[in-house]
């Protein structure tokens, strides 16, 4: 069990060990360290393809989550019976997209990737942001995760959704 990390792009220079450490910290905060998960780092071209294929949005984005459990109630952890169901799903990280945002906003790349992964994991755990209620619920969860992360690591990360609020 663990995190399968893949780096399929060459645009952004990533620190794999750092990325793994951050995702492991997030998994512990959420109590999902028993579950497998895939983190696949891709460039703009690739995430745009996926976005177009699955969401009919032909633009690059920062993160796309593909939950193993599709109908989870937000906040409820799955109760798998078999070992091979100890899986939350996959997160495609648009690392090129995130990097460009970081350049625009003068943010630290790995900090921004941690925020993006926290958002992605929330989606794997059933959180959505299609309605106002869902949005609030997910934002609260992200705030909790990142406040714990900040406490453990001395960082000052803010939820992704807070930054996106104006876009809605």
């Amino acid at each position: 069990m663990g995190v399968v990390l893949r780096n399929l792009q060459k645009v952004v220079s990533l620190r794999r060990a750092r990325l793994r450490k951050d995702i492991d910290t997030l998994r512990h905060i959420l109590g999902v360290h028993k579950f497998d998960m895939g983190i696949i780092c891709v460039d703009n071209r690739r995430i745009q393809q996926i976005n177009n294929m699955y969401r009919k949005k032909n633009v690059p984005t920062d993160v796309l989550s593909f939950p193993f459990y599709e109908d989870l109630r937000p906040g409820k952890l799955p109760c798998p019976i078999h070992r091979d169901e100890l899986n939350l799903g996959d997160i495609f990280l648009g690392v090129e997209f995130v990097m460009k945002q970081c350049q625009e906003d003068s943010l630290d790349l790995h900090g921004a990737l941690t925020i993006t992964m926290a958002h992605g994991i929330c989606h794997l755990l059933g959180y959505r942001h299609e309605t106002e209620e869902e949005w609030t619920e997910m934002l609260q969860r992200e705030e909790y995760i990142l406040s714990e992360y900040n406490r453990l690591t001395g960082s000052h990360l803010q939820p992704l959704m807070k930054r996106c609020t104006q876009d809605r």
């Binding site: 069990m1 663990g2 995190v3 399968v4 990390l5 893949r6 780096n7 399929l8 792009q9 060459k10 220079s13 620190r15 794999r16 060990a17 990325l19 793994r20 450490k21 497998d36 895939g38 696949i40 891709v42 690739r46 393809q49 996926i50 294929m53 699955y54 969401r55 796309l64 989550s65 593909f66 939950p67 193993f68 599709e70 078999h82 091979d84 169901e85 899986n87 799903g89 996959d90 495609f92 989606h123 959505r128």
Partner: protein, 288 residues
Amino acid sequence: MLKSVLRVVGGAVRVSSATASTARALPLSCPTLGAPSSATTRPFTRSLWMLNNNGTSSEYRPKLFSSKALNPSVSCGCGGLHTEGDKAFSNFLSDEIKEEKKIQKNKSLPKMSGGWELEMNGTEAKITRNVAGEKIIVTFNVNNSIPPNFEEEADQGQQKSAEEEPEIVSTPNFVVEVTKQATKHSLVFDCHFPEDEMSRGEGEEESDIFAIREVSFQPEGDSEWKETSYTLNTDSLDWALYDHLMDFLADRGVDNTFADELMELSTAVEHQEYIKFLEELQGFVKCN
């Protein structure tokens, strides 16, 4: 945003059993899998190879040239046979060489970015770089560097027009040797391009562009592999350790960009050597 993919995530060297999620059916199409490489590629024209099952072995071999093998029809005084078959073979090779040269993108080999120096010895390439007191040597051999399952794609490609034919990309295993000034041994990484990455347009699994297979210490400068050195196999390695090893290589200029350029270089070298071989073969057959 959320559409479940429900697929097997793992599958690379280290992680196969631990991450398989098999409880659900896979969708017919999965996102994007199979990284298209930006390496220089070239359209497939090696009909000779394909007739002979990838050029390495074949149960069936056409016997076009055998009937007159004992009845030389031409003689140039060299003491060798000169059959009608040889003539046809030579003409065939002329066409093949012409075709291959037509699709050869550059006569000169592509340069590796990052201050790497290239040294060729036949089919073996050695690229070297010095970084702050460390010497990094990467070696690879273009022989047998084209993935065997390329053949399947080539078969499919026969249905398509010449422009759509699959392209040959050379993906050799490569060895990275890192030597520090003060030490007598080198840290050696045996690396490869995972096949599923290269061979599909789409698939069920994703692999890194390149992966480390084994790591060991070897005496500096020794060309022979010392089997008595402990060899760390990455199949069952702690993933965090594997990530640190990958970061270690990246710090020394061996990252995804490097791997992509190495593919491009290897593809060009392989093609160059192929043309050279055809020319030599033609010379041998023609006896000039």
